[in-house]
Symmetry: D2
Subunit: 394 residues, 4 copies
């Protein structure tokens, strides 16, 4: 008998292999083609039955209560299939939203928003990003505004790239309640049910990835009226709360994508171990060995950086630096793993006959989503200069 | 007035911008969605009207007769759109087939096969690759056989990844006429009309690329009977002829993909020059400048290696080494160019709202098609060891 | 008050800054120029006085008894100066030899060999590597032989690249006692005092590094006679014991070189933060920020991999895989850190006016010593293929 | 019989192998240890006798008159030995100075300065770089001043990193005659004999490279008085002339370092072809093949970019962009070639027992000298943004 985390890891692995991977492969990782929310509900029932549902959620809401380090195993196993995170309710953006709600929401908000989300009764979305020149890689450019009126707030503005928006039950909306676009202060988060008048979900952006339920959508908030009880936490602290969400959400991304990249790697290794060329097993050829070894190294380094950051989070730290470093490294390293796996599979590596090509398609945006690598590097460098010129060891 | 090559380059650029790019973007680079062969015929008519059709084909067959160096410009401009090579009849595999037929076919075969192909009346396919354990990265594993019978040959075997097979008017089929699978000798090329009994075009492989007309197909040759006049060149010299086709075909691939990568780069530069973040134009940020500069360097090095190899081919050399090096470098460098362009475009770099993501999807397989980089490196290394241990400078 | 490990880390940092770095810089990292063993003795006295001597050695031999994870901090701080490991008696090869003697030596051998080594009274060397075609990257090629005679053994053979040989008080000699060159079995370790007749220390190899006391030497064992009490552990188990030494020794290498690379990085950041070019601080230029961020990422990933491997070692595992991965990654990552630091320092990065160039010179061989990266990749790949084809997750 | 260029290439190869390499290896590439200027004179006599002296100099001054493309071969062959460029009088900075003097100097200046330099009677130096915050990567920061007085000029200022200064017969001194530090205009070049009062050659910077005769020195110009006839070209056009020197000088650097990197590569290939490990020739192991192939690709791409730039220079262009790209690529690619060669040679790759380590030491600064790669990338990116946003193809 292992720990709860080990046990959930092993059971998630088995569950995914039996219930999720076949569907994923049948539909080439396209969740809409696989049935969208109807499929989600069915998969989540199966996950509950298998005892692998919501490993990261508090027990009072039906989960297993695993901390950051402990959830790494189950989330990696969920990510082994593109549909796995949906099935066990550990996918983006819901997982990050649950995390933030557990940390910040009022008792009433927990009942109305967190609990149904945690139990898989609804999905949610996090409405922060805006079309240029609004909030993007630079969140302080936020332009959506919320104006205080009689007994509530009026929210208006445009959003873009809102993951999971189509079909979400509610939105966590970031809006400017003070300051000017370009300023660091004065943002507030609001909890807005999807059926509130003026909430408009528009076009799905035609992204290369297809496994994200509810798409990445354009949205408009057209004079949306909400009460004071819609404010998440306190007024004007939105950017600070975004940081609360940010670090852990980055890390669960890394966990899930580690699983996906591992599947690509294992697929490729099995492929080359079973094929002959130039008089031997391909897996014995040095140029294949280089790819295999580099994949192993990249996976190991990703997991090691992930664990350091998760321990810091579990200890109550904000872990801005360690999660930024881990996210940046992982996004690039896991992409390399999948790319090398495609090379190892030769022609089949760029077809849907093996699962490697679809993983490549889905993982590519991770170097851009949640902060492009370039923006992370910029902030990593600025912190380093400050720290080192103050005499602290790097 | 420039040279003919310069003139064709400029006119192809204008033609592509006006007649081809709008269609390409409208259909996200999917040639079947854009109308398939019907569209091809219309585009080729427009190209003839614009005087940019078949720059590489001999004048007697309606082309402009440009050599390898001279065709680089027009083919790069054609490749600027994913549909451009189809429009000007410089696409794979037809372009390579024309090249080989010009070099090897008999007068009668030229009339029956080369001329209609050069004029765009039919398409063709080159049927060499087979499912494992047959001919793949290692062509000598060839298993399709042609057996000499009364007054002709009987061809039987399976092929896979036959580009352009669906809708092709004829096939150039590589079949073993001597020796054993794994041996270097005893292959023959046959010219086989598509309507010959026993020629079966099967499933399109579900590849990530969608701009290749006629797909990448599975095929079977079920006791296909052809006459002696179907033999291209001489019996048992098929592997040698494949080499004749190989070098130039690699280089025209590089020309076309250079155009596509250049479009991604130019799109990204225009994008970052028009956007602000962190208080300035993105294009003035150092981390963007690094990507832009690296793109410029990779494009310049690709073109420089291409020219060296093309001069060697124009001078009558086989250029096995220089084309192998240029192909390997180009496939990786151009992929990097497109990847950096995606990063520069941020979220839009992974959507169909900009043309960068589709170029990424189309160019990825070039590191695998026409010899994976790993196999090229293996042969480059073997040649280098032999040459240097013989005392020749590297 | 921190833990003992934290305390030793802080005190080692202060000790190195005050007592070691000035000497290191004065002599450009050349330990012979700085006085060789005489200097070593003086530095070790100072380290003892500062309470930072031998953090990794058992308390009974005068050390602080830190395990692998805990010694990481003090050893990184020692490595911050090229002479630091000598000063605190944590340098190669002595540190690894102590580790192995603690694990394997008899009580008598501990008294005669381990204790004086741990207390800094003598130095030691590990005589395994041989000139081609003997033991090198492939240890099984071992050719030095030990033949059982009356009451003892006669050792004969040639060694090369024996670090610290010149001036060592004793040698741990690997010799074949069974099997054939190329076979995995039949090697035995012998403890041989330097003054034993027939022990010949020859030429120092003219290596690029100069901070390793006692050089990297050629050696001969000319019919060297030793008794049965010279056998370390059991006869014929030498290759197994080499594995015992290998993993921890790799990791302490990584600790020390992390310190050296960190010094290069901090030097470079301080340099660019204090210089102007093109109208601003160099440290604010994006192309400098890229180097700084990549250095931070490489340092963080190195430390994270190191910790994972050290925990496995502290838990009693052999950690062959995790130490191999950590060593391979670290050797390359730390070399990149130093190389980028040189670029950041411009012209001064290739002079002795800053400490960066000498660190570059010293760290370069780490990608070759203790197993070239290529050999590590080969074994990492072989293990991965075996594991994955057996169905275990990678 | 080949062309003159081919002939000089072959003869330079033979000359270097016979007369230069043995000395280079005997003295580990340290020209001072090999005898400095005395050795230079002897080597140049031998080069003249072999008919390989000054291939790039006009015939009227005793050279062979080869243009940029044509001199590539002889200069690569000279660079094959670290002392070769000195022997055939094609080394930096003299070669670049000759080039500029041929283009700009008056008839009288040619007689006094160019002719003795071309014939090897004196050496020269180019005094532009200054200590921070003066002219460095950013030449416009120039602070050395020349003030017009009665019948002449008074030059005063500090210089640093002046290659070849110690022992030079004259200096080409860049001094500000107008504008302010940081401005692009107002610099003038002066020809200053070394024995002019106030010319002070100071400390040799302790650089890692040792093959550059006359060192890299600190200098002071203490109220140095020169006449109007010391002005090279016209007053205030110094920055423009520096550009004239820059492009060709970058390219001849690339030629010479290509030779050095080729030697490292050939040494490594010969080494691995002659050694066994793990049951076969090392050169047949895939991880070695990867290095060998990558070296071939990097060498080929370097030469290809070099040729494109040299053709542009031969056609009379300034080639700022193509020489910047070629220099940046080459400095990094050739460094990679040498680094991989070191890996291939294992332990011997970091000793003086093979010539690879010394080549690594000498070539490293090339990524910094003549414009660090980072500064080149910055200007390449700026040009690209300008060109592409103006609608020109990239």
């Amino acid at each position: 008998m292992g720990t709860l985390a080990e046990d959930l890891t092993a059971r998630t692995r088995a569950f995914v292999a039996e219930h999720v991977l076949p569907l994923d492969d049948e539909h080439d990782g396209d969740i809409e083609a696989a049935g969208g929310d109807e499929r989600r509900v069915a998969l989540q029932e199966a996950a509950r039955a298998a005892g692998v549902f919501a490993p990261q959620v508090a027990r009072e809401y039906g989960g297993h209560g695993l901390g950051m380090v402990d959830r790494s195993g189950p989330l990696e196993e969920a990510g082994y299939s593109l549909f796995g995170p949906i099935a066990t309710n550990v996918g983006a953006p819901d997982e990050g939203n649950m995390h933030m709600l557990e940390a910040i929401a009022s008792a009433d908000q927990r009942t109305r928003f967190l609990e149904p989300l945690a139990r898989g009764l609804v999905r949610s979305a996090f409405a922060m990003t805006e079309p240029a020149p609004g909030a993007g890689a630079d969140p302080s450019a936020l332009r959506t505004r919320a104006v205080r009126g009689d007994g509530g707030w009026v929210i208006s503005g445009e959003k873009r790239f809102i993951t999971g928006a189509d079909g979400a039950g509610f939105f966590i909306v970031m809006a400017r309640t003070g300051g000017e676009a370009g300023g660091a202060g004065g943002a507030t988060m609001f909890l807005v049910p999807a059926d509130t008048p003026g909430v408009v979900v528009g076009r799905h952006l035609p992204t290369v990835d297809r496994a994200m339920i509810g798409g990445h959508c354009e949205m408009r908030f057209e004079d949306v009226v909400v009460g004071d009880d819609a404010v998440l936490g306190e007024v004007d602290l939105g950017f600070r709360y975004a940081q609360v969400r940010l670090g852990p959400a980055r890390m669960t991304h890394v966990m899930r994508w580690t699983g996906a990249a591992r599947r690509a790697h294992e697929t490729a290794v099995a492929y080359v171990a079973g094929r002959q060329a130039f008089g031997g097993r391909i897996s014995d050829l040095g140029l294949a060995q280089q790819h295999i070894a580099d994949n192993e190294i990249d996976l190991a380094a990703t997991r090691a950086l992930l664990r350091v950051a998760c321990e810091e989070l579990d200890a109550g730290g904000r872990a801005s630096e360690s999660t930024s470093i881990a996210k940046t490294f992982a996004a690039e390293a896991l992409d390399r793993v999948v790319d090398r796996s495609q090379q190892l599979c030769g022609g089949l590596g760029v077809t849907a006959d093996l699962p490697v090509a679809k993983i490549a398609r889905e993982i590519r945006p991770f170097r851009i989503y949640d902060g492009p690598s370039e923006v992370h590097r910029w902030s990593i460098a600025k912190r380093a200069v400050k720290r080192i010129t103050n005499g602290a060891p790097s």
